[in-house]
Symmetry: C2
Subunit: 326 residues, 2 copies
Amino acid sequence: MTNDFDTRPGRAGPLCLRDMGAFHVGGQAVRLQGQPATRAVLAAGGEPVLLDPNGSYWVGQMYAQYFLPQAPAQSTPLQLWHGGGLTGACWETTPDGRPGWLHYFVRRGWDTYLCDAAERGRAGYAPRELWGAPLSQTAEAVFARFRLGPSLDGVALADAAQQAFPEGQFPAEAFEALARQLVPRWAHTDAVILGAYEALLERVAPSVVVCHSQGGMFGLTMAQRRPDRVRAVVALEPAAVPPPSAQDEACAVPTLIILGDRIEGDARWPAMRKRIEQFARRHACVEILSLPDLGMRGNSHMLMMDRNHLDIADLVHGWLARALKD
Amino acid sequence: MTNDFDTRPGRAGPLCLRDMGAFHVGGQAVRLQGQPATRAVLAAGGEPVLLDPNGSYWVGQMYAQYFLPQAPAQSTPLQLWHGGGLTGACWETTPDGRPGWLHYFVRRGWDTYLCDAAERGRAGYAPRELWGAPLSQTAEAVFARFRLGPSLDGVALADAAQQAFPEGQFPAEAFEALARQLVPRWAHTDAVILGAYEALLERVAPSVVVCHSQGGMFGLTMAQRRPDRVRAVVALEPAAVPPPSAQDEACAVPTLIILGDRIEGDARWPAMRKRIEQFARRHACVEILSLPDLGMRGNSHMLMMDRNHLDIADLVHGWLARALKD
């Protein structure tokens, strides 16, 4: 299967938008009291500033950037929700410089919202006094956990391709560019992040949510919590699924879960897939698409960056067209 | 003076781009060793992950998002460099929902690069083991320091307009939306940030730099360091200026510094203005534009968000057209 982004009808030529813009949404004002003040020069050669941490902060907001095509071909907005340790940048230009899923869905006529979840990217994050310090993941851990290869095994990031799975679809020669995209994260902010996504869903018209990894869990959760605001979910390798609940089978939101290759040999993904399969059995509206079962081999955890990312986007676009028609 | 963004020639109708995209640039790989490992569940219901902080990180990179108009009217790219505690979002939709300077310059035909400096936004930031904890600024401090009014004086963020200067141009009724844009910052990362900006300037064609506050200092510094890559600088209320040096008078890059209103009554800005005036006296290519001297009253530190932001953008666009012609 080949997919040439620039030559297919409707995807070549200029990208015309009827509007674009950005906003922050969700979160709340929080007051800090009783903390010590410090003095700092915030720009070399500037005037010293008294930094008194006591006062108000807006905390828990998220950021959304919207791209609205001049001639929308879809009546439902589409939101892109990234995974853990990442930002909305993961849906833009791929690490090796190809147009990403943002471009694909805008060119396909979707009103597209590129999101930075609460705690990262342009969303910002709370003062250390409120959230403590974040966790950072090493490039080595990410290389193995995203199933780009068995292990970086001490090679330089620029040489990661030497360690990649031979038939892998991830452009491992550009792994360094993926390492530049990684951002710190917290392990205790799920409720805050979900709260901001709910505020976003309330602000935008009922939407399709295309989500990945940690964001997959948020998308599946919001489909259960707000079926009035979520029209469909496409979850790329969700890192978790909602637990069994009284809402099982009461399944309002068409959901597609997409899985890549090499799950069998992974340390964590066989258990994850088992939970995803149990989740799908509990919910009649949930469908699992395992790419290797379609003959698409070599996909990593970063499906939207893989070399065949537009073939996968075509599958998503086609599935959504059918799901929204029903 | 009035300025209606949507009805002037060339600025109404769809926004057509020949391309858009994003990349990270600059920074370096850094290895951590000898730190303790921890175990954490990174998605509720997910598989526990061993978090070993020892390994490689990419540190000090920045992020740039580009919007290239279908019919460029300028041959020089334009880069937007934000201020401290902010991200590229400050150039997008204003807090009260008007199209921002990003829209303005793209519609005026500039190839525009919307940047998140190293350490914030989609650029990400280094693990705490390397940089320590960042500083956060309170909404109250920002309200006074950005010269929106004398003091928030305990009113809720949503009621900030009550405390704003009566003739102020900042849309203080939307102060809450500005508070959502604030992000933590460090006080010791200037060299890292400058290094990434230099890498950006090397990657993009020689550019105009439109910069603000802390970013103003970076723009003025890069004009001195890389006159081969900076074609002109427009610095909105730079928070500092480069110190006197042997390069004084050897002035290759046309530079415009714009100052808003109410500097006289401020705690820090009279001293800043004095340094800016000394800087301009040392460099024949530096021009200062004080908006009150033009009869434009009430501008805050956030010139690109003020109600008359498009009038100021027109001044910048006109000055750049003349400066690049010379």
